[in-house]
C-alpha cells in the first residue's frame, strides 16, 4: 500500500513537472531528486507543497531525476531557472555537473558527502551554492548524551576516515561539558574490534558518528552486540540504528528536512541567493529503543528528550 502511494505521488510529481514544462510559464524552481525512495519522495512532496502554499506557482516547480536534468541541460531548457534544489548526494553531484547559473541548494546530504563534492568540483560554499546537512550538529548530540545519560562522563567514539576530522570539535565539546572523549581510529587493516575495544574501554556511552567506513550494515550488528555486552549504551544518528539496537538516536525526519528546505528555497526564490554558509537541520527527533533501554536499566522518553533539547537550544 505504501509503495503504491509512493508510486502514485511520484507519478503526480512527474505529471506536474511535465505540465509545468508544457506551459509557457518559465520554470523557476528545479528540484532534482537522487532517487524515488520513500524518504526522498517525502522530502520532495513536503517541499513542493510548502512552495505551492507559499505562492510559488505549481507550474514553476519542476521535479527531475539526475538523468532528466542532464537531458534538459543538454537541450538548454533550464535557462530561466531561479533556484536549483538538489535532494541527496547524487542529485547534488548531477546539478554541479550541469554547472547552472542559478543558485543551488543541496539538501538531505551528509556533511562529509557535500564536502567531498565541493572538493571534487573545486567549488566553495557561497550565496550560489549552499547545503542543508542531514547530520545533526555535534553540540546537539553531546547535549542529548548529557540530557539522557547525565551520569556519563566518558564518551567513546569510533573514528573512521570520514569522521576523524570531527575529533577536535568533539573533544572540545566534551571537555566543555565536563566529559572526556575515549576515541579510537578505525582503519581497514586492523580489526574493527580492536578499535571498538579501545573506544568502549571505560566509556559510559558510545557515540556513533556518520561514517560508513565504521558504521555500516555489516558492522553495526557486531558493534551493537559488543556495546550491549559491555553494557554501554550507544547513541546513533538514524532511526535505523535505534531499530537495530542503539538505545538512542538523534535525527531529522524527511518532513522536517522538507519543511526547512522549503524555507530556504523560498528565501532563495525571493532573493536569488542561498545562505552563504551551509545550514544544519533545525528540527529533529529523538528515538528510543525501549527494549534495549530497559535491558540496560535506563528509562528514556524520546519526545521529552526532544523537547528538552529544543529548550536547550532556545527553540519553541
Amino acid at each position: 500500500m505504501l509503495r503504491w502511494l509512493r508510486h502514485l505521488c511520484t507519478g503526480c510529481c512527474l505529471g506536474l513537472a511535465l505540465a509545468v514544462a508544457a506551459q509557457p510559464t518559465p520554470t523557476q524552481v528545479v528540484i532534482v531528486s537522487s532517487e524515488a525512495s520513500a524518504s526522498y519522495t517525502q522530502v520532495n512532496t513536503v517541499l513542493i507543497d510548502a512552495l505551492t502554499r507559499a505562492g510559488v506557482p505549481k507550474a514553476a516547480v519542476v521535479l527531475l531525476s539526475p538523468s532528466e536534468l542532464a537531458q534538459r541541460t543538454k537541450e538548454g531548457q533550464l535557462g530561466l531557472t531561479r533556484v536549483f534544489v538538489a535532494v541527496g548526494a547524487r542529485a547534488t553531484q548531477a546539478v554541479l555537473a550541469a554547472d547552472p547559473s542559478a543558485p543551488v541548494l543541496s539538501t538531505l546530504i551528509p556533511r562529509q558527502s557535500f564536502a567531498q563534492l565541493l572538493q571534487s568540483s573545486g567549488r566553495k560554499t557561497s550565496a550560489r551554492l549552499s547545503a542543508l546537512y542531514l547530520d545533526q550538529p555535534l553540540r546537539r548530540q553531546i547535549s542529548l548524551i548529557q540530557l539522557a545519560l547525565p551520569q556519563a562522563r566518558q564518551v567513546g567514539v569510533l573514528l573512521g576516515a570520514d569522521s576523524v576530522g570531527k575529533l577536535p570539535e568533539l573533544s572540545a565539546l566534551a571537555q566543555d561539558r565536563g566529559m572526556t572523549l575515549q576515541h579510537a581510529k578505525v582503519n581497514g587493516e586492523q580489526p574493527l574490534f580492536q578499535a571498538l575495544s579501545v573506544a568502549l574501554d571505560g566509556s559510559d556511552v558510545l557515540l556513533a558518528l556518520a561514517d560508513s567506513n565504521v558504521f555500516n550494515s555489516t558492522s553495526i550488528q557486531n558493534i551493537l552486540l559488543s556495546s550491549f555486552r559491555a553494557r554501554i549504551p550507544m547513541v546513533a544518528f538514524s532511526s535505523a540504528y535505534t531499530r537495530a539496537g542503539a538505545v538512542l538516536s538523534l535525527y531529522s525526519s524527511p518532513v522536517q528536512m522538507g519543511v526547512q528546505t522549503a524555507d530556504l528555497v523560498l528565501g532563495a526564490w525571493r532573493s536569488g541567493r542561498v545562505p552563504e554558509r551551509s545550514v544544519e537541520p533545525d528540527d529533529f527527533l529523538v528515538d528510543v529503543n525501549a527494549n534495549v533501554a530497559r535491558a540496560l536499566g535506563l528509562a528514556l522518553d524520546g519526545a521529552a528528550l526532544r523537547l528538552a533539547l529544543r529548550r536547550l537550544e532556545s527553540r519553541p
Binding site: P110, S113, S217, I220, S238, A240
Partner: protein
C-alpha cells in the same frame, strides 16, 4: 533343464513373483531410506556447520578464543561431529576440538566447501563466517553509496563428521530389511507349499488314476472312487475321470464280448470249413476208391473185348469205348493223385535217376495219344541225371505232356531237357503249339478243376486236375515250375530239377521199361481178388494174353488151387481181401507154402501211404486201380522174366 514336477512349479509360480516384487520393493525401500538417511545426515551436518558458524560470528569478531573454544567443544556434543576448528580471516587457528586425526586441512578459503577424507568414513565441511547483514534504510547509507561496503569475512569454521552412525543405521536397516524379506519369503514358501499340496495331491491322485486306467485296472479305479471326497479341490475332475473310466470299462467289456463272439463264430466257421474240406477229401477218397473197382473191371473187360475178333463197325465202337474208359481212368488217376496229395499220403523218396529213362516211359505212355491227334511228339534224348523222386517227377511230366497233347490241335509237342551245370540244374521243358493260356489265367490254371475254355465241362478235355497235381507234387518235391504261354501260339512249362553226376552203376529202379520181358503165353498166373466182377475181368484179360489163370477170392481158394497142383509163375493180388485179409499177407503165405519167391504184384484202390510202404517192404510192385491193361502186361512180362 531338469523337469520340475507340478508342485515345484506351483511353488515357483507362487514364490517367484513374490520374491521378485518383494526384493524389488525392499531394494527400492532400502535405497529410498538410505537416500533419506544420507540426505538427513548431510542436512544435519550443514545445519550444525551453519549453527557453529552463526554462533562463532561474534567470537570471531571479538577474537574471543575462550568463547570459540567452548563453542568448538560444545559442537563436539552434536552427534557425528568429530573435529571442529575455527580460524580467523588471517588463517590463525583460534579454537579446535576433537580427534586431530580426523581433521582436514584448515587453510582459509573464502568460499564454502565440503568433501570426504581419504578413509571414506569422515566428511568435512569448511564454511566461512561473515558478519551478519543488518538493513539500515537510512539516508546516510544512501549517501555513502559511493563507498562500497564489502561484506567482511570474519573467519572460517571447519567441521569433520563421522559416517559411523549413518553406516550403522544403514547396516541396521539393511539387516532389518533383509530379515523381514527373508521372513516374508519363508512365510510365502510355507504358504505356497501348503496351498500347492492341496492341489498337487489331487493332481497326483488324478495321475495315478489315469495310469491305472491306462493299465486297464478298472477294479482298482473303482476302489479309488470310494475314497473320493467332495471337499477335494479337483473333485469334479476326478469324478468325471471316474465316469470316463466306467464308460471305458463298459466299452472294453462290450468289445471283449464282441471279440469273443466273433472268435467263436470264426472258430465255428473254421471248423465248418475244415469239416467241409475233410468231407471233400473223404468224398474224394471214397469216390475214387469206390469208382476204381468197377472202372478197373470195365477197363479190363473192354481190353478183353478188344482182344476178340470183331467186324469193322464193332471194332470202331470198341475203340471209342476204350478211349472213353481211358478218359475215365485218367480222371480217376487224377482224382487219386489229388486225394493222395491232400491226404499227405505221398512221401517223396529222393534219389538220383536218369532223365532219359523217364523220357522213354513217357514216349511209351503218350505216343499213342499224340499219334491219334496227328501231333508230332518229339522227345529229345538226354544223358542228364537228376536228384528227386523219379516216380513223382514222372507224374508231373506225364501230366504236363498229357495237357500239351490235350490242348494242341495241330503242330507238335516237344519235350526237352536242358542241362545247366553252372546252376547244377536240369530244366525239363514241355513245349506245345496249342491254344495257349491268357496271362490273366496263368496263375489260376494251377487250381483244382480250373479250365480256361471249358465252360461246358467237356470231359474229353479232362477235369482240370493236371496242373493242380503238377503244382502240388512240385511243391512236395520243392521243385520249381514255370509257365510261359501266349494265347493262340503255344505254351512252355519248365520243370527245374537238381542235377547230379551220373553214377557208374546204373540201376533200373524198376521204372524204366527197357526190359520188354518174356511173352506171357502159357504162363500160370494166380489172381486173388475178392470182387468177383473185377476178378473175372482181370482173368479174362489175362486169358486174352494166353495166360493160364487161376482165380481165387482169397487165400483159402488160392491154397485150394495150389493143392490141386496149380503152380503159379506169377501172383496178382488185390490188397484188400475178404475177411480182413490183405494181399501182402496172402502172397507172403503162398510164397511160404510154395517155398519159392514167386513174382507177385499188388493191385489196390486205396491211397493210404502205408500201403506203398508195405508193398516196398515185401518187394512187391503196386499197381493202382484202375490198372491199364498195357501197364499190367508190361509189369507181368517184367515179373515173369
Amino acid at each position: 533343464m531338469k523337469r520340475l514336477d507340478i508342485r515345484a512349479r506351483m511353488v515357483l509360480a507362487a514364490l517367484l513373483p513374490l520374491a521378485l516384487i518383494g526384493t524389488m520393493f525392499a531394494v527400492w525401500m532400502l535405497m529410498s531410506r538410505f537416500d533419506d538417511l544420507q540426505t538427513a545426515y548431510e542436512q544435519r551436518n550443514r545445519l550444525v556447520a551453519r549453527q557453529v558458524g552463526l554462533a562463532s560470528e561474534f567470537g570471531l569478531f571479538s577474537g574471543n578464543q575462550t568463547q570459540l573454544q567452548a563453542l568448538a567443544v560444545g559442537a563436539l556434543q552434536d552427534s557425528d561431529v568429530r573435529w571442529v576448528a575455527i580460524i580467523d580471516a588471517r588463517g590463525h587457528l583460534l579454537a579446535s576440538a576433537g580427534n586431530q586425526q580426523l581433521a582436514p586441512r584448515t587453510d582459509f578459503q573464502p568460499v564454502a566447501s565440503a568433501g570426504t577424507l581419504p578413509n571414506q568414513t569422515v566428511d568435512w565441511i569448511r564454511q566461512p563466517v561473515f558478519s551478519s547483514q543488518t538493513t539500515l534504510d537510512d539516508l546516510f547509507d544512501g549517501a555513502a553509496a559511493t563507498t562500497s561496503v564489502r561484506r567482511s569475512t570474519l573467519g572460517q569454521i571447519t567441521l569433520s563428521f563421522s559416517r559411523q552412525t549413518l553406516n550403522d543405521r544403514k547396516l541396521n536397516l539393511l539387516l532389518g530389511g533383509g530379515l523381514i524379506g527373508a521372513l516374508a519369503l519363508l512365510f510365502g514358501l510355507a504358504l505356497a507349499l501348503f496351498l500347492s499340496r492341496s492341489v498337487s495331491r489331487p493332481v497326483a491322485r488324478i495321475s495315478h488314476l489315469v495310469e491305472l486306467i491306462g493299465r486297464g485296472e478298472f477294479g482298482h479305479v473303482q476302489s479309488l472312487r470310494a475314497q473320493l471326497e467332495p471337499t477335494d479341490p479337483l473333485y469334479s475332475l476326478q469324478e468325471r475321470i471316474h465316469q470316463m473310466a466306467d464308460q471305458l470299462q463298459r466299452a472294453q467289456d462290450d468289445l471283449q464280448q464282441q471279440v469273443a463272439l466273433a472268435t467263436q463264430q470264426l472258430r465255428q466257421k473254421k471248423e465248418e470249413a475244415e469239416a467241409a474240406n475233410l468231407a471233400k477229401t473223404r468224398f474224394l477218397v471214397a469216390a475214387s476208391h469206390d469208382l476204381r473197382q468197377p472202372t478197373h473191371a470195365l477197363g479190363l473187360f473192354v481190353s478183353r473185348l478188344a482182344q476178340l475178333p470183331h467186324d469193322a463197325q464193332t471194332s470202331q465202337l470198341i475203340d471209342h469205348l476204350q478211349m472213353s474208359v481211358l478218359a475215365l481212368q485218367n480222371l480217376l488217376d487224377g482224382l487219386l493223385d489229388i486225394s493222395r496229395l491232400e491226404a499227405r499220403s505221398v512221401q517223396a523218396k529222393e534219389g538220383p535217376f536218369s532223365v532219359a529213362s523217364l523220357f522213354g516211359q513217357l514216349t511209351q505212355d503218350v505216343k499213342d495219344a499224340a499219334a491219334s491227334k496227328g501231333l508230332a511228339l518229339r522227345i529229345h534224348p538226354t544223358s542228364a541225371w537228376a536228384l528227386s523222386d523219379a516216380t513223382l517227377v514222372y507224374r508231373i511230366l506225364l501230366n504236363l505232356v498229357n495237357n500239351a497233347v490235350r490242348y494242341t490241335q495241330q503242330g507238335r509237342v516237344l519235350v526237352v531237357a536242358r542241362l545247366r551245370p553252372s546252376r547244377r540244374q536240369v530244366q525239363v521243358q514241355v513245349w506245345d503249339t496249342g491254344i495257349g493260356i491268357a496271362p490273366e489265367h496263368q496263375q489260376a490254371v494251377f487250381g483244382e478243376f480250373y479250365q480256361v475254355a471249358n465252360a461246358a465241362r467237356d470231359r474229353t478235355k479232362g477235369m482240370g486236375l493236371g496242373l493242380s497235381i503238377v503244382r502240388r507234387t512240385a511243391d512236395l518235391l520243392r521243385l520249381q515250375v514255370q509257365l510261359k504261354s501266349r494265347l493262340g501260339v503255344g505254351t512252355c512249362v519248365t520243370l527245374t530239377l537238381p542235377w547230379v553226376e551220373a553214377p557208374f552203376a546204373t540201376s533200373s529202379h524198376g521204372t524204366a521199361d527197357e526190359v520188354i520181358g518174356a511173352e506171357l503165353g502159357g504162363v500160370n498166373v494166380l489172381v486173388i481178388e475178392d470182387d468177383a466182377l473185377v476178378r473175372q475181368a482181370l482173368a479174362s484179360v489175362l486169358q486174352g494174353w494166353d495166360m493160364q489163370v487161376a482165380q481165387a477170392s482169397g487165400l483159402k481158394q488160392a491154397r485150394q488151387h495150389l493143392a490141386r497142383g496149380f503152380v503159379p509163375q506169377v501172383i496178382i493180388s488185390d490188397y484188400q481181401l475178404e475177411e480182413g485179409a490183405n494181399g501182402v499177407q496172402s502172397i507172403k503165405a503162398l510164397r511160404s507154402d510154395l517155398q519159392t519167391d514167386i513174382p507177385a504184384c499188388l493191385i489196390s484202390g486205396d491211397t493210404q501211404p502205408y500201403l506203398d510202404q508195405q508193398a516196398r517192404q515185401a518187394g512187391l510192385s503196386l499197381l493202382q486201380k484202375p490198372v491199364r491193361p498195357a501197364k499190367l502186361r508190361s509189369l507181368l512180362r517184367r515179373l515173369v522174366s
